[in-house]
Amino acid sequence: MEDLHPRVRLLWTAGAFVAAAVLGAIAGALAWFDPLSLSLPPLAVAGTVFGVAFVVGVTYAALRYRLWRFEVREDTLYIERGVVTRVRTVVPYVRVQHVDNRRGPLARLLGLGTVVVYTAGSRGADVSVPGLAAERALALQDRLRDLAIESDPTDAV
């Protein structure tokens, strides 16, 4: 079993920061316009909501990192993940249609990449491995592609 790159926690924390900031801004705006006339101080409300949301987000990111695992097995790709809902996915290489390598701007800055595996199934795009070191992502993409090619010549339907 293989873990994700530890830096992915930074990536997810950044995501949590943005989400918490948006939530805080909304809460602050609500307190400012005060439709229910509770007369709470807007800045304090925004700050508290932001703080709570950020702490929850960071904890979630840490748990998510700890629970994320994958393994390149002999004829299947195995993925285990999920904090609230645990999900274990098994993808046989025969079914792989193509493999993508995706890198967002922040991920590029952190030297991370995501490998997305497509199958013909209705949930094909669900299978992705985020937060791998860039070179590891490329290597995994190559490896999956090779395994998919060698496993079966017929169409994957």
Binding site: A120, R123, D152
Partner: protein
């Protein structure tokens, strides 16, 4: 080959009708608001647009050509940017023909050719003559079979004698829906759950009706509510029956070799082929009403359609209504699954549903009480308490209809009370296997397993709420079965 000449007026008419409303609204607005000469200009604009439309459709018709070769379907199209396509017949999944009322009057038809790749229909021939549509459908099937026959003639010789024999023969009728059963199917198509909408919606609706009916006395009010509810249910029922009647009028299912061919429809006539070799999942569907009278329907999912894009707006129903025994026989004919004696879910799943439904019922009661005490007096708010009494029954029936049977050949998963679906997945069609445990499932030591295939119509084949250890074993069985199939196919 060119499209049928009548397709030009047909397509012009179709586009004009779809823009027609905008034109009518525009004209009405213009004639009232604009001075005379501007009105003339607006009319001229409409005529100009119509001329442009005709010109465009003529150009499209002149520049569109198709040809069926021994191994491909070639299409060249496009007015400004040309597009040449060669579709290998081996990749063609379904060939569907549809004819609406206008098309039937003109003797033309639309042909849709589906391939597995991509989200939308690969080729739309709008329109060809009805005879040409039939010819394309049978020719593509014949050429596909001929090409397949060359490559794996050895397989046909060693295995499946019956299938090879059937392939040579004329199409045989597998199923026909007579008028009596069509009416029955229409009557039974109603989803009883729709009737409960009124029950759930009453706290929301009441505040609006309070002014109108609040003055009526207690007994009179109860009668008024009952009559209203009954009328709504009957209207929903009639609408549902009418929809089913129109959709499945004159339904016939024939089989020619490895293809199923269906025709159906009252106003718009559909015919299509379902290739059995590309079969992904067989679904036996039974609503409460159908179960009560011993009927069921059968759906066959192939890899051709994107989710919800099939001609029937979902998975292709192979048989809209037949006795349960007939449906099971046909299902076995398509996919030789053994006895459907399914293992039940563990009893703690039932306790889980008990908890879940109790929470939902509590929320509904709280809502009704809230409306009563906070918004507007609501005479029968305590009726919601009946929901609480229903909770154990609901939990029991949800649990009772869960079942699964997984071996090296098939995965069978059954669930649902209102509409019970039994998915039969051939193991060699499995794409991915996904095991899920929600927070609540983990508390009870339960897990669900989704068995994903390339057919993506009527819901996932999912084994819901089994023992966590069993779920892991299930995943192992499915993946091992798939591996074995692949080894066998190669060896």
């Amino acid at each position: 080959m060119k499209l049928h000449p009548l397709s030009v007026p047909y397509r012009v008419g179709k586009r004009a009708v779809s823009f027609g409303w905008a034109i009518v609204v525009g004209l009405a607005g213009a004639s009232s608001a604009l001075p005379g000469r501007w009105r003339l200009a607006a009319a001229a604009l409409v005529v100009l647009a119509l001329l442009a439309l005709v010109g465009h459709e003529v150009a499209v018709h002149r520049r569109f050509a198709y040809a069926l070769t021994a191994s491909t379907l070639d299409i060249s199209s496009g007015v400004l940017s040309r597009r040449e396509r060669e579709i290998p017949l081996g990749r063609v999944q379904n060939v569907d023909v549809s004819r609406n009322v206008v098309q039937r009057a003109l003797g033309i038809a639309t042909v849709n050719v589906e391939t597995a790749g991509g989200g939308e229909t690969e080729v739309v021939l709008e329109c060809v003559s009805a005879a040409e549509a039939d010819r394309l459908q049978t020719e593509i099937r014949r050429l596909k079979r001929a090409a397949a026959g060359e490559t794996d003639a050895s397989e046909a010789a060693t295995g499946d004698g019956s299938r090879a024999g059937a392939a040579a023969g004329a199409p045989e009728t597998v199923f026909e829906l007579d008028d009596r059963h069509l009416l029955l199917a229409s009557a039974l198509s109603f989803d009883v759950r729709l009737a409960s909408i009124g029950f759930v919606a009453q706290p929301f609706v009441w505040p609006f009706l309070a002014d109108e009916f609040g003055g009526l006395g207690g007994a009179l009010l109860a009668v008024a509510i009952a009559v209203g509810a009954l009328a709504v249910v009957l209207a929903l029922w009639a609408a549902s029956a009418f929809r089913t009647f129109v959709r499945y009028y004159g339904f016939r299912l024939t089989r020619a070799g490895d293809d199923l061919r269906y025709e159906r429809g009252l106003f718009q006539r559909y015919t299509g082929t379902i290739p059995i070799e590309k079969l992904q999942t067989v679904v036996v569907r039974e609503t409460v009403l159908q179960r009560r009278f011993g009927y069921a329907s059968l759906a066959v999912e192939t890899a051709g359609y994107a989710p919800g894009s099939g001609p029937s707006g979902g998975s292709e129903a192979a048989v809209p209504l037949a006795t349960r025994r007939q449906v099971l026989a046909l299902a076995r004919d398509l996919e030789p699954v053994g006895d459907l004696d399914l293992a039940p879910a563990p009893t703690r799943a039932r306790r889980r549903y008990l908890g879940r439904y109790a929470i939902l019922a509590g929320a509904a009661v709280a809502l009704a009480a809230g409306v009563h005490y906070l918004v507007t007096p609501y005479p029968f708010w305590w009726l919601s308490l009946a929901l609480v009494a229903v909770v154990p029954v609901a939990a029991h029936y949800r649990w009772r209809h869960l079942g699964r049977a997984v071996d090296g050949e098939h995965a069978v998963a059954r669930r649902g009370f209102w509409t019970r679906r039994t998915h039969v997945v051939p193991i060699d069609r499995v794409q991915t296997v996904i095991e899920r445990e929600t927070l609540f499932q983990r508390r009870w030591g339960l897990a669900s397993v989704v068995i994903d295939t390339a057919g993506s119509g009527g819901g996932d084949a999912a084994v819901v709420d089994v023992d966590a250890a069993d779920a892991a074993g299930l995943v192992a069985t499915v993946t091992a079965g798939l591996r074995e199939h692949l080894v066998r196919r190669r060896g």
